[in-house]
């Protein structure tokens, strides 16, 4: 004990008066008390065994027995009613069930009965084990895991003798060719696994179906849209007309979906957005730049476009700049114009890849 600690020792003796000299103050701990931690903590052993009600009182045991039997009986009963209900109730029949409303009676009744049948067995079994099955504590000591020295010795001897007998040390040619033969075959297994992941995507992620002159058509009717039909405040869900020739409609739709809106041209701030649109009609990719959900929640008063998945919010008056949420890039704009018949057409494909980021983005 150092000199530094001495005054605190004094304090302990003076303030613990009345509690006996062995009492340890909470702010001092073991180091001050007996000097150091004990070499080993003693095994405190098992807590004293407390007998259960059913162990002491025969009537309590009888009661527990009845409870378990009731639970098992309830389970059997539910199963029998289940079988009856299966045939008795018309599967189309509906009924008003409090808390649920108008519901299919067949499904609800079968579900509830099945729950009672299974829970009855489970709860009954657990209750049986807890109240009536033996509950004496028993201890099984853990065996040491280390093998005996003799066994360890024998393994080493066996291996060395085997190696010598096989002439591994004398014939390195065999040793190294064997190593190669064992190391390479896994490649034959790995290659088809990687090849089975499918063809390389090439530029599929960077391109959509949109091309110059492709008419904008309504989703799902696929009818072309005249510019004068798009009144201010309108929103159209749009696909390229060429989707009708698509071999993989869902894949192509997932990239080419476009939202068409008409704003007051005065409200559009960037000149680029106005130039790429037509008289306040602007078309933006509907695929969120965060993880690719369809961004369709257009608020016509604030001109905010909200993505329903993670609440990324884009401002249509500012070239769909991200103003809230996890998206990092604005939605790509589709440059549109009108053809000789007054229908809206794409003036160019998307200038950048639509949708979420990927490794090769901007390189293809």
């Amino acid at each position: 004990m150092s000199e530094h600690d001495a005054p605190r020792g004094e304090v302990r003796h003076t303030t613990s008066a009345g509690y006996g000299t062995t009492a340890v103050r909470l702010d001092q701990g073991h180091v001050q008390g007996s000097g150091r931690l004990p070499e080993r903590f003693e095994n405190p052993g098992l807590a004293p065994h407390v007998p259960r009600m059913a162990d002491l009182d025969e009537r309590a045991a009888k009661r527990a027995e009845k409870q378990v039997a009731t639970l098992f009986g309830l389970s059997s009963l539910a199963t029998i009613v289940f079988i009856v209900a299966y045939f008795a109730i018309d599967s189309k029949h509906t009924a008003f069930i409090p808390g649920i409303g108008e519901a299919n009676l067949y499904n609800v009744v079968l579900g509830v009965l099945l729950a009672i049948a299974l829970l009855g067995v489970g709860v009954g079994a657990v209750h049986w084990a807890k109240t009536l099955m033996p509950d004496t504590e028993s201890v099984e000591m853990r065996h040491p895991q280390r093998a005996s020295d003799a066994d360890r010795e024998r393994v080493v001897t066996n291996l060395t003798e085997g190696g010598t007998a096989a002439q591994l040390g004398r014939r390195p040619l065999i040793k190294f060719s064997l190593l190669g033969a064992l190391a390479l075959p896994p490649l034959a297994l790995l290659l088809p696994l990687l090849g089975g992941l499918g063809p390389l995507p090439k530029d599929q992620l960077s391109r959509t179906m949109w091309k110059k002159g492709d008419r904008l058509v309504r989703d799902p009717e696929r009818t072309p849209i005249r510019a004068d039909q798009v009144t201010i405040g309108s929103v159209f869900h749009v696909l390229p007309e060429s989707i009708k020739d698509s071999q993989h409609v869902l894949e192509d739709k997932a990239k080419a979906a476009v939202l068409l809106m008409r704003l007051d041209p005065e409200d559009i701030k960037p000149a680029k957005e106005r130039d790429w649109g037509h008289d306040g009609i602007v078309a933006y990719s509907k695929i969120c730049t965060h993880v690719g959900c369809p961004v369709g929640l257009y608020e016509q008063q604030t001109h905010h476009l909200l993505c329903p998945c993670h609440q990324s919010t884009f401002d249509v008056t500012q070239d769909c700049k991200v103003i809230f949420g996890p998206a990092k890039r604005p939605l790509p704009q589709l440059k549109i114009t009108v053809d000789s018949e007054g229908y809206l057409v794409a003036d160019a494909p998307f200038r950048e890849a639509v949708g979420p980021s990927f490794w090769e983005r901007g390189h293809a």
Binding site: I100, V108, V235, F324
Partner: protein, 259 residues
């Protein structure tokens, strides 16, 4: 007759004849052409009554001439459909300014609403109250469902349960809404909702959408409680609170010694 016959080769004769033909055709067309049933040139008395109701109930916010003030927009050109929707669903008159006018108790009887609508429609042309044949909901439910999922479901939820928008605004539930009000909302684009005019979604397609919504109103819950049809939020909450709660309760019970 001779005088006419004598002048039949006069240079003006052709022009006169053409003019006569055009006038006759025009008169005949306007006489025999089928007329559109139109309720918009409402009786002057109805407009007058509507104006009185407007001055008493709406002019505080919308201005004495419905020209709009800094607390309420101008009503010129919003049309009868807008009035019928806003007043007919209790959204107007607005009890207090908020992010959005909520659906509320309807304050006026239908004749009063019609009078208000007639007055506002008389200010400037706008979408009229839709023809009843397109709001009955007797159309193609499957096609309506497809149109609903493309055009409406992102805000109003796949089952029309409604959903959240930005900054406290929301898309209301479409459960048990009259077909007329659904149609009017699509045509007028109330509040945050964009406009879906008849050139975008035809009246017949709007009827299909109404049919779809009415069909899901009547649909029973096949699998028990539907949890509001709100999708993963309410289902997840239910599973985490009740499902997991039940399992924790069983685990605690399993771990306790019997008395």
């Amino acid at each position: 007759m001779n005088a006419l016959a004598a002048r039949r080769r006069h240079p003006a004769a052709i022009a006169l004849l053409l003019l006569l033909g055009l006038v006759l055709t025009g008169v005949a067309y306007s006489t025999f052409a089928p007329k559109q049933a139109d309720a918009s040139p409402a009786a002057a008395s109805q407009v007058e009554e509507g104006k009185k109701l407007f001055l008493a109930n709406c002019s505080t916010c919308h201005g004495l001439q419905a020209q709009g003030t800094n607390v309420g927009p101008s009503l010129a050109g919003v049309g009868a459909a807008s009035v019928d929707f806003q007043v007919g669903t209790g959204r107007m008159p607005l009890a207090k300014p908020d992010v959005q006018a909520p659906k509320a108790k309807v304050r006026f009887r239908q004749p009063e609403i019609s009078a208000l609508a007639a007055y506002v429609a008389s200010l400037a042309p706008g979408p009229p109250i839709p023809d009843a044949q397109y709001t009955k909901g007797d159309g193609d439910v499957a096609k309506g469902g497809e149109l609903f999922r493309v055009n409406c479901a992102m805000c109003h939820n796949f089952a029309g349960s409604g959903g959240a928008l930005t900054r406290g605004k929301y898309a209301p539930s479409l459960r048990n809404v009259q077909g007329k009000h659904i149609y009017e909302a699509m045509v007028t684009g109330p509040q945050s909702m964009p406009v879906f005019n008849d050139a975008n979604i035809s009246p017949q397609s709007k009827n299909d959408i109404i049919s779809y919504l009415h069909a899901i109103d009547k649909e029973e819950n096949v699998g028990g409680m539907n949890l509001g049809n709100l999708g993963p939020v309410s289902e997840g909450l239910f599973a985490w609170v009740f499902g997991l709660g039940l399992m924790v309760a069983f685990a605690v019970w399993l771990g306790r010694k019997a008395a």
